[in-house]
Amino acid sequence: MRKYVPKDNVQGKSYYTDRYWVAPRVPRMEVEADSHFADVLKALGKLSKESYVEIGQLVVHIDATTNVEVMTVLKETCGYTQCSEQSAVDYLAKDGEFELFYQLLNITEAKRVRVVCRIKKGEAIESITSLYHSANFAEREMFDMFGIKVNNHPFLKRILMPDDWEGHPLLKTYPMIGDEFASWYEVDKIFGKEYRDVIGPENRDPARIDRYDTKRFSRVGYEVPFDADISDGEKEQAIEYSETLLVDYTTSSKTLDERR
């Protein structure tokens, strides 16, 4: 039977996890221990749903609809003048939500705050470009990588991937080596679809050896002239190969089991 692979999360998994393994959690501190962070929390008031200090930085969970309001308070009142980073984490498989985070920096106090909010799939978030220009590129990248729409963004367009790309690469449903569209993208674009047969599929196996390719691979045991055609028969050779070991992994997925 083919092994079950969940489609909603194709991220790499550990091949073995102890059944009694419970991951510990990074310790979270009380906000009151730091006077500056306590002031920030006071200024935010009811806007913050949950807050704690994790590894020296204040983490504030907010409602996604109030993000511009929160950023305005943080920028105008608390002196967080720079938005260092803004991106998202994909929790669609687990909760059906994206987690968005904004990493803010106060350079006079040398403090950092991470504002975290969650949105459902298909929902849009309000842009904070009017407050922090650095969010311009960051939100475009988030749109490109996750497909999260940003309202009132000046120029929401793909930034890293080409404009005609299909899929959003950092979603957990997107495989690392890409889908069918991605694997033929450059061939379709340059030569056209009809050249797919001429060029052939991508080689994704870094250890692949073509037995009859005398151009790229040299032979063990005897020598073959460069670029000679040996497809219809080979000379006697000193070293014997076991045919069962030479499996074409690119075409078949269950050959690994047959080897055993």
């Binding site: 991937m161 080409p162 690469p169 997107y174 495989p175 690392m176 080596i177 890409g178 889908d179 991605a182 993208y185 450059e186 061939v187 674009k189 340059i190 030569f191 050249y195 001429v198 060029i199 991508e202 080689n203 994704r204 870094p206 670029d227």
Partner: protein, 172 residues
């Protein structure tokens, strides 16, 4: 009156003269290889270092050109992403014949460590490559060796590019 029996214009009649022309032309071609600075990623820094003070490519007649119209060799140094692939092909098409391609570094050869959705798995999928240069990133000495190998290859070839087997390998 005896006629001159050798017809120099026929197909097989020019062995001596053509070999000399081949040698002369290939001598010229191989000793002034002007690469196109096709720096894509990390390998481009090593390519610049080869043009720098210690490795000094100019002594081999190799001067980096910025325009494909002036270049003979395309040194594809670094990861070629799928977004960039069509531009690489376009610049290759813009180069004048005769032209050669060196694929520098593992990423350009096979995709290397970037076995992901965004990288072309080997530039030979889109342009024909003459020399593959392993390493991540290859040292400038490696690039120098590759260039010397290419010179050897050019000297071995026929001056008329249509006679060379490589022509048949060209994709389009």
């Amino acid at each position: 009156m005896a006629q001159h029996q050798v017809n120099y214009a026929s197909a097989a009649g020019l062995p001596i003269a053509l070999t000399s022309v081949d040698k002369l032309v290939n001598w010229g071609r191989s000793n002034s290889l002007w690469p196109l600075t096709y720096g894509l990623a990390c390998c481009a820094i090593e390519m610049m270092a080869s043009g720098g003070a210690r490795y000094d490519f100019d002594r081999m007649g190799t001067i980096f050109r910025a325009s494909p119209r002036q270049a003979d060799v395309m040194i594809l140094a670094g990861t070629l992403s799928k977004k960039h692939a069509e531009f690489a092909r376009r610049l290759y098409d813009q180069m004048t014949e005769p032209k050669w391609v060196i694929s520098m570094g593992s990423c350009a050869n096979t995709g290397g460590m970037f076995n992901t959705y965004a990288t072309v798995q080997g530039v030979d999928r889109i342009i024909p490559v003459d020399i593959y240069l392993p390493g991540c990133a290859p040292r400038p000495e490696t690039l120098q060796y590759a260039l010397m190998m290419l010179q050897k290859k050019i000297r071995r070839e026929s001056a008329n590019m249509n006679n060379n087997t490589k022509q048949n390998l060209r994709l389009v």
